[in-house]
């Protein structure tokens, strides 16, 4: 199948089953693009989500655009985003036309209450997997706990949490001497490729 069409269909599926904020799309993105197709690395999804979270706009749309771009450039970005948005357009238009009293339909309320619980379970599973994939250092654990507390207890904006953790990451690598080494290698590699 044409890759663009496939990107569109995968994100259509993701848009159809994302209940909640942008985080709710991560388990499905991981399943489709990392586990099933191997098109991107697991680490990359979390990077894209972090970027999506700290730029203006709807986080889920940002994440879809970012992921689509990494798969197939600007066309991939458009395919992923239209695919993700399409189910919303269809479902909401149908509801607005036929079910003005959607809120009062108990069936949907019961289904949604239980879906939310499934999303919580899926998210806990993703967080465990993220930890297993990480470097498992004490510093990472500290950043994880600190971010969680700042968000839950102090209601700090996620944007500041991400900016702060980026600064922390740079400082930590600097004091470990990793940054300097990596920089040296990076410059050598780039010189090599220029020649």
């Amino acid at each position: 199948m044409n890759k663009l069409l496939k990107i569109f269909l995968i994100f259509f599926k993701i848009g159809s089953f994302t209940f909640g904020g942008g985080y709710a799309m991560l388990p499905i993105i991981k399943r489709e693009l990392v586990d099933n197709l191997g098109w991107i690395k697991e680490k990359d999804i979390y990077n894209y989500y972090a970027i999506g979270q700290s730029t203006p706009g709807i986080i889920a749309v940002n994440t879809a655009t970012m992921t689509g771009y990494s798969l197939r450039g600007v066309k991939g970005a458009l395919a992923a985003t239209t695919g993700f948005i399409m189910p919303s357009l269809i479902i909401i238009t149908l509801i607005a036309t036929f079910f003005k009293r959607f809120q009062q339909i108990d069936l949907f309320q019961h289904a949604f209450a239980a879906i939310q619980i499934a999303v919580v379970a899926l998210i806990i599973d993703i967080v465990i997997k993220m930890w297993q994939k990480s470097d498992k250092t004490k510093v990472s654990l500290l950043i994880f706990l600190l971010a969680f507390l700042l968000l839950v207890v102090f209601n700090i904006s996620p944007v500041f949490v991400i900016l702060g953790s980026a600064a922390a990451g740079i400082l930590i690598q600097y004091f470990r001497g990793n940054l300097q080494n990596a920089y040296y290698n990076y410059q050598n590699d780039n010189q090599g490729s220029d020649e």
């Binding site: 709807i58 993700f84 108990d106 019961h110 239980a114 919580v120 990472s140 706990l145 600190l146 690598q173």
Partner: protein
């Protein structure tokens, strides 16, 4: 020209809403007041529906307002307006990210960001659980630890979680099964 107004207004919301759909809500409130597209009560009702249907909340609400204001084309145009800034900004960022993601500074920054994103996602799960699974208000009302949990929900959470870890099936299977269980057992 209602279509142009819808597009431009939602474009502005997409451009300035930092932090996702919920951050866009105050902007939407201002919008409907400014143009008298609907009452505040109608908006609240739409947001509630947008939260409990699939898709991003901001996108769902934009489709709703656009549709209510100018029919199917209105829904499409409002949604396109909301998504357009994301597409433009992220495409530019993605272009540079692809160039610089091997750069030591970027790699170091992301080594700090990844555990923070895990914390961010965990906090989202916690907020979601706070409404359904923990009943903090019971603890505050009568100080009873026994009533801290909604046991039906907690039980379902444990079962689904065990199934996820054991069977490693597609997330859609757990979401669909949960929907059925919710309907059958009246969650």
């Amino acid at each position: 020209m209602i279509y142009l107004t819808l597009f431009l207004e939602f474009f502005k919301v997409g451009l300035f809403a930092l932090g996702g759909g919920l951050a866009a809500l105050p902007f939407l409130q201002d919008l409907i007041v400014k143009y008298g597209w609907m009452t505040a009560e109608e908006l609240l009702n739409m947001i509630a529906i947008s939260e409990s249907t699939p898709g991003a909340i901001g996108i769902n609400t934009a489709t709703f307002i656009g549709f209510n204001t100018a029919g199917i084309p209105g829904g499409i145009i409002a949604t396109a307006g909301l998504a357009a800034p994301s597409i433009i900004i992220i495409t530019i960022i993605a272009h540079y990210f692809r160039k610089f993601n091997q750069h030591p500074l970027v790699e170091s920054a992301f080594s700090g960001i990844r555990p923070a994103v895990a914390g961010l996602i965990a906090s989202a799960a916690f907020e979601l659980a706070r409404g359904g699974i923990f009943q903090l208000q019971n603890l505050q009302l009568n100080g009873s630890l026994l009533e801290l949990f909604d046991y039906k929900s907690l039980f379902l959470l444990l079962i689904i979680f065990a199934a996820i870890r054991k069977f490693k099936k597609h997330p859609i299977i757990y979401i669909s099964t949960a929907a059925l269980i919710g309907i059958i057992f009246k969650f």
